[in-house]
């Protein structure tokens, strides 16, 4: 599976002004890659993600999965919402079975996959609870395995850890990484957190605040699980922090090229 974003643009029209949020964006995410869109708030990264998901239409360009263009939401792209969007009227079990029922997975297989996912997220015994009875971390894991239940080709995550505090965040990142390593689905994640981006992803795409251009596209080839205090890790972090400064528009473009040289 391969996700290709080809020349995507998005404009919002107000009464007589046109605001460009995304301008001619292109990139390709390989099978099994964990890619992160990093950028300051308001740079259009979530917009881009919802366009890939098909929740809204692009003003120009196209999104392709395995070479076929997609325009509407579909089970080939799982989505993890910032607020999880678990259905509060369904139990954990019903929430997770829902996507499989929609895909008409036979009952036996459904049951098997359900057990598998539950074990993967270490949520055994919680299947009869409702979302409001779960802790934040558990909700996040349920949302993650619900998105995986329908066996999507790509998993799209919109700041999946945006709503939790710093301490919790780091341990959830570790959980998320462990979960992902068991499944190795292609992932596109949106975040504004540099540390989260480096810790989790194979590749970080930095977007700028103005017109949502790609400022930097950095591979992260550190071995997993990553040592947050390691030299290389810190170097990556500094580099991304620089790129983000450019993204916000505080420094000239040259800073990034210098940064690249340093890394090389």
């Amino acid at each position: 599976m391969e996700l290709t974003v080809e020349g995507i643009s998005k404009n919002f029209k107000n009464e007589n002004t046109v605001q460009t949020v995304l301008k001619d964006l292109s990139f390709t995410v390989r099978e099994g890659q964990f890619a992160t869109l990093l950028g300051p708030s308001g740079c259009g990264k979530t917009t881009l993600l919802t366009i890939i998901a098909g929740f809204q239409a692009a003003s120009g360009g196209r999104v392709m999965i395995n070479g076929a263009q997609v325009t509407r939401p579909g089970p080939d792209r799982g989505f993890v919402f910032q607020n999880y969007a678990l259905f509060p009227w369904m139990t954990v079990r019903e929430n997770i079975l829902y996507p499989m029922k929609q895909r008409r997975v036979p009952a036996k297989e459904r049951e098997k996959r359900f057990k598998e996912l539950l074990a993967m997220a270490q949520l055994e015994g919680k299947e009869k609870l409702y979302p409001h009875q779960l802790s934040g971390g558990m909700k996040q894991r349920v949302a993650f395995i619900r998105a995986l239940a329908g066996r999507p080709e790509v998993l799209l995550m919109d700041e999946p850890l945006g709503a939790v505090d710093m301490q919790m965040r780091q341990s959830l990142q570790e959980d998320l990484e462990a979960l992902w390593l068991k499944d190795k689905t292609t992932v596109v994640m949106v975040t504004h957190d540099v540390d989260e981006a480096i810790y989790l992803s194979d590749r970080v795409i930095v977007m700028s605040a103005r017109e949502g251009k790609i400022v930097d596209d950095m591979p992260v080839r550190l071995p997993r699980p990553r040592d947050r205090k390691g030299m290389e890790y810190q170097k990556h972090k500094e580099h991304l922090a620089e790129a983000l400064k450019v993204a916000v528009g505080r420094q000239a473009e040259t800073a990034v090229t210098e940064g690249k040289l340093c890394l090389a």
């Binding site: 998901a53 969007a85 996507p99």
Partner: protein, 111 residues
């Protein structure tokens, strides 16, 4: 109606204008329609109950977060599944409130 803007624009003026008419004003009309007896009474009770149910249902459906629709769609849900598994359960509390108000109003029109 809560789901579709078009339907809202079509029916909202009609419902809003009908529901402003006081219940007593319907009495002569219903007697003409149904004659004397239980007919007008039953009609009026039902009639007075319809509006709170409709209005609360519309409000309930409008209040459903867009994320739920998007989530369902990205899991491959069709229109029927979205209606029965998302719209109905998500707006059920509001529908029931409408029902409760309706029962109260029905009792009022009995008297």
């Amino acid at each position: 109606m809560g789901y579709s803007k078009g339907a809202m624009q079509l029916f909202d003026p009609l419902i809003d204008s009908l529901r402003q008419v006081p219940i007593m004003a319907w009495v002569p009309l219903t007697i003409v329609w149904f004659g004397l007896g239980d007919g007008p009474t039953i009609f009026l009770i039902a009639f007075s109950g319809v509006f709170p149910v409709i209005l609360n249902t519309v409000a309930g459906v409008q209040n459903i977060s867009k994320d739920y629709y998007n989530a369902a769609r990205s899991m491959g849900a069709g229109p029927w599944s979205i209606f029965s598994k998302i719209i109905v359960p998500a707006s059920l509390p509001d529908i029931l409130i409408g029902g409760r108000v309706a029962i109260g109003l029905g009792w009022m029109s009995v008297i």
